[in-house]
Every structure is written in C-alpha cells, then in structure tokens.
C-alpha cells in the first residue's frame, strides 16, 4: 500500500474509534458528565492499545518471531497471580490494591525470566518465558482452587479484561508509561531494525546487542505489565496489530511503531465500545471482544499472505 495512504487511513481509523467511544454507549448521547466519563475510558483504551501494539512490535523484532506478543515472557501469568492473590486474600500492601499487586507480579515474573535465561541468547528468553509463565499459571490455578466461590468469580472476571475507569490517578500513571515506552521504543527504531535481522547481523553493524535487547525487552515488559495491571489480560492486540500495520507501513520501525500505536489505540477503543454496547447493560469483557474480533481478522490477514519467500 502506498505511503501516502497510511496517514489518512490511520487518522480516519482513530477518528472513527474516538467517535464510537465518545458518542455511543448505554447512556446514549452524552451530556457533559457522561462525555467526561467516556473521555476517561477512551483515554484508558487508547493508552492500553498503544502499549500493547508497540510492545508487540518490539517483541517480534527482538525475538525474531512473528508470533511473539507482549505476554510471551510470562508477564501476564505473573500479573494474574498477583491480582488473584490480592482478590482472593484481600491483600493490598501500601494500598496498591489489585493493580499494584498485579504490577508487582509482572515485575517479579520478568526478573525471574531474566535470571533463568542469564547469559543465553534470544531463544533462551522465549523458553524461559514459557517456563516461568507455566509455573506462575500453576500458582494461579492453586489460588483459584482454594478461593471462595466469589473469589473465583471475581478473579476470572478481572482476568478477562476491563477498561472501566474510576479515577484519574491510575490513568495518569498509565499514560506516563505510554510516554516512556512509546518514546523509548521509537528512539530505538534503528536497533529494532537491526535486531530483526538476527543478533549476529545486528552485532555486525555495530549494535550493542545485549544492552539493546535488555532495554527493549524491559520497555516491552513495562508496557505489558502496566496494561495487565490496569485492565486485565487483553489478548491479540499485541500480536495482530503489528502484523496488520506492517502491511501498510512497511517493516522499518521508525514508521511501524507510531503507526502501530495509532492502530492499536483505535482498535482497542473500538473493541471496548463494542464491549459496552453489544449486551448493554451487561459489559462483555474487552479481552473477549479483542479475541473474537482479532482472531478471525488475523486469519484473514494470514491467508492473504500467499507470498512466501522463494
């Protein structure tokens, strides 16, 4: 697709998403109060969508794996375990609440992955991530099995994803993460380009592979951890949006990252609007919507990819 079409297309998608997010919902056309509430929710959706999409780009480049997505290093399992412990046992150290415990769990799982894969290359990271993720998931199942019926229900619903906003403080924190992650990853565009060619060629052109890999993965993990803590586990955005956008923007990260950010934000805002609207007053978990919408779209995208390298 031509370069010129990219910007208007993304701008159009973003505007459509914002319109959907602000002007539709169980409350109908909004008055000032409702508009402000929706604005917050849209801001949350944009932030989470941006974080997940650019983290997906980063992980796919560094791990040289087109199926990599932000949760591949076990971050979501750690966050879910943290949240589950908080929900089941009412833990809230330093009055972090559920998001704080989820964030702590995510940070813990990342450190664990780093420690396990110490000194080995990129492939070892994925392996370590899968293993750590499995172990933490087992921990999660243990918590689920000893929870009360209410605890079980609450943990499950939390995990499926929710972009509702009650106060501005966590939203501000989330957007602070957006600035750090988006800025950091965009400034690392050249490193990402080089790393996507493999660690050997990246080293050959002069990239400090160890440092670049670590900092990029840390940023990606921050993005995933922040999103899971704030909104639960939202699948597919980090996997599917980079693929979709690459078709339009090309693979160079200087363009891919901002494009993925816009697309990811728009996609999630649309998904969240559907989550609020479809079964109103019930709220479908937004993670379910992204999977149901993103899954088939991803399949269509893959089928259209008939060209394989000769």
């Amino acid at each position: 697709m031509s370069r010129r079409a990219l910007v208007p297309l993304l701008a159009g998608a973003l505007l459509a998403a914002l319109a959907l997010g602000l002007f539709t919902g169980p409350g109908g056309l909004p008055d000032e109060l409702l508009l402000r509430l929706r604005l917050l929710r849209v801001a949350q959706g944009l932030a989470a969508g941006i974080l997940l999409a650019v983290a997906g780009c980063a992980f796919q480049a560094v791990l040289q794996n087109v199926l990599a997505e932000p949760y591949v290093l076990g971050v979501s399992s750690g966050a879910a375990l943290g949240a589950a412990l908080s929900i089941a046992f009412g833990l809230s150290p330093f009055s972090w609440g559920i998001p704080g415990c989820a964030a702590a769990g995510a940070a813990g799982s990342f450190l664990l992955v780093l420690a396990v894969s110490r000194g080995m290359g990129g492939a070892a990271l994925i392996l370590a991530g899968v293993v750590v993720g499995s172990v933490l998931s087992s921990g999660l199942l243990l918590v689920l099995s000893v929870s009360s019926a209410e605890g079980l229900r609450n943990i499950t619903w939390w995990m499926l994803g929710n972009l509702d906003v009650f106060s501005t403080r966590p939203l501000i924190l989330l957007w602070a993460c957006v600035v750090v992650v988006l800025g950091g990853l965009w400034l690392s565009s050249r490193e990402l380009d080089a790393l996507s060619l493999g660690e050997e060629r990246a080293a050959g052109v002069g990239v400090d592979v160890r440092t670049a890999r670590l900092s990029i993965l840390a940023l990606g993990t921050l993005a995933a951890a922040a999103t899971v803590s704030a909104a639960g586990i939202i699948p597919f955005v980090g996997l599917f949006v980079p693929h979709m956008v690459r078709r339009l923007s090309g693979s160079r990260h200087a363009r891919l990252i901002p494009a993925a950010a816009v697309a990811g934000g728009a996609f999630l805002v649309v998904a969240d609007s559907l989550a609020r609207l479809v079964l109103s007053p019930r709220q479908v978990p937004v993670g379910v919507v992204t999977a149901l919408v993103g899954g088939p779209l991803f399949l269509i995208l893959l089928r259209g990819r008939t060209r394989l390298w000769r």
Partner: protein, 281 residues
Amino acid sequence: MLRRLLVLAALGALVSCGGETESAGGGGERLVSLAPSTTELVFALGAGELLVGRSSADDYPPASGVPVVGDFGVPNAEALIRLKPTLVLLTGTEPDSSGRLLETLGLSTFTVRAGTLDELVRSTLDLGQRLGRREEAASLAARLREAARAAAARAEAVGGAAPRVYVEVWHDPLTTVGRTSFVADLIRACGGVNLFDGVETPYFATSSEAVIAADPDVIIVPGMNGVAPDVESRQGWGGIAAVRAGRVYSRIDPALLFRPGPRTVEGLKALSKILFPEAHP
C-alpha cells in the same frame, strides 16, 4: 473383678449416651452440609449436633467444631466414606460431578432450594420435616414471613415510588445482580426494585456508564473480606441520585443479603431500613 465391673459400667454409659444422641431427632441422622446456607439452616433448626461434616466455605456459626469434608458444592470422597453420613444436604447449584459422586457412593441427598424467599420458606419447612425438627422449622419460617410482612408494611406506610437499588458485588469489573438472584427477590419483598431486573442472570458485569445512566436511588456495596470500595468518589458517580442523597450503604454483612438462611431475617430488616429509612418502628 471390680475392674471388670467398672469397665462394663463405663461401656454401658457410653452406649446409652450414644443411644440417647441417636434417638433424639431424625432417627440417628448423620448430616453433611456442602454449603454455608444449609449449614446455618441446620444449626438454626437445632440440629447442629447431627452435622458430621461441612464445607470449607461455611463460616457461621463460627467455631462450630464440625470437620470440613469438602469445598462449596464439592465433597471429598474419602471424607464422606470415612464419616458414613446418612444424608447430604445440597442447594441445587452443585456441579454435576458432585451429584454423580454422591450417587456412586450411594448416599441420600436432600436439596434445599432457595432461589427466592418463598422457596427458602418452603425448603425450611421441608428440611424441618425431614430432620424431625418441625417446630423449630415452623418457628423460623414464621420469622421469615413476619420479616417480609413487616418490610412490605413499612414500604406501604412510607409510600411513594419503589426505590431503585444497585447492589455492587465486586468493583473490578463492576459486578451486580440480575433478576434471578436471591438478593433481587429480597429487594422486591422489601418494596424496592433491583436496578437491572431486566437481566435474567443472577450475576453479571456491567460498566460505570450503565450504572450512571440507570441512576439508582440506593446503592448497596457490601464489599468482600470487610473491605468496601469508595463509591462516591468515582468519576461521574457524583451525579447519581443515590450519591447525591447520601444513600450509599457499605456497612452490611454480605451474608445477610446473599446467603439464604436463618439470617435472612436480619437481612430483610436491614434492607427494609435501608430502603425506607423514614419509617421508624
């Protein structure tokens, strides 16, 4: 010789004690309860000594001393075999696997259905019959009916529109109750209207916006583990009728509202006062 007599006497005392316990009440029943609601009911009917096993979720009465034989609705096979119960109490919400297990073990079951207040009353009487505690059951049923009647009368006395009630079960995501939940029936009995009576499931997730749009008159947030979230300071909730009128109630034991049983009497009283605070007895 003397020692032998003493041993025989001791054995005789033991046997006769056992005999007494067995002959009092439902003919030597050994009860197992798999839910907090049925456990409370058993104790309220004065049949607590018949209970040989309870679920891990049962917390009232506290320190009952009854051993745990399983989780909520899910019995532990070995514990059941060891205890040899004669009757297992169910609520009708157990998973199929539990029913099959009990069938395999050849245990009799008794289902205490309590989806609504009427069902609770009827089940109380049935259980009382089954356990040989007819009087206690009748007394409890009467108290339940009286509480409901009093609540209805209070509503009538105050008059006016039925207050629309939002009950928040959990805050992330916002989880509330639908028409088929027990608490919705209680609200109806007290002369109120559950905010989302249009939804047919007992529990479901909703959005901040949906609650604001529905504009409840009363908000009840029982919380969990004694912790209730701060509802009034939520973005956009300041304009809700309930918040403006200061009718947000968080100091209520969730068991009183969500657990059908003897304490539903107190639940009805508390709910009635919440919905119609003006009328003073």
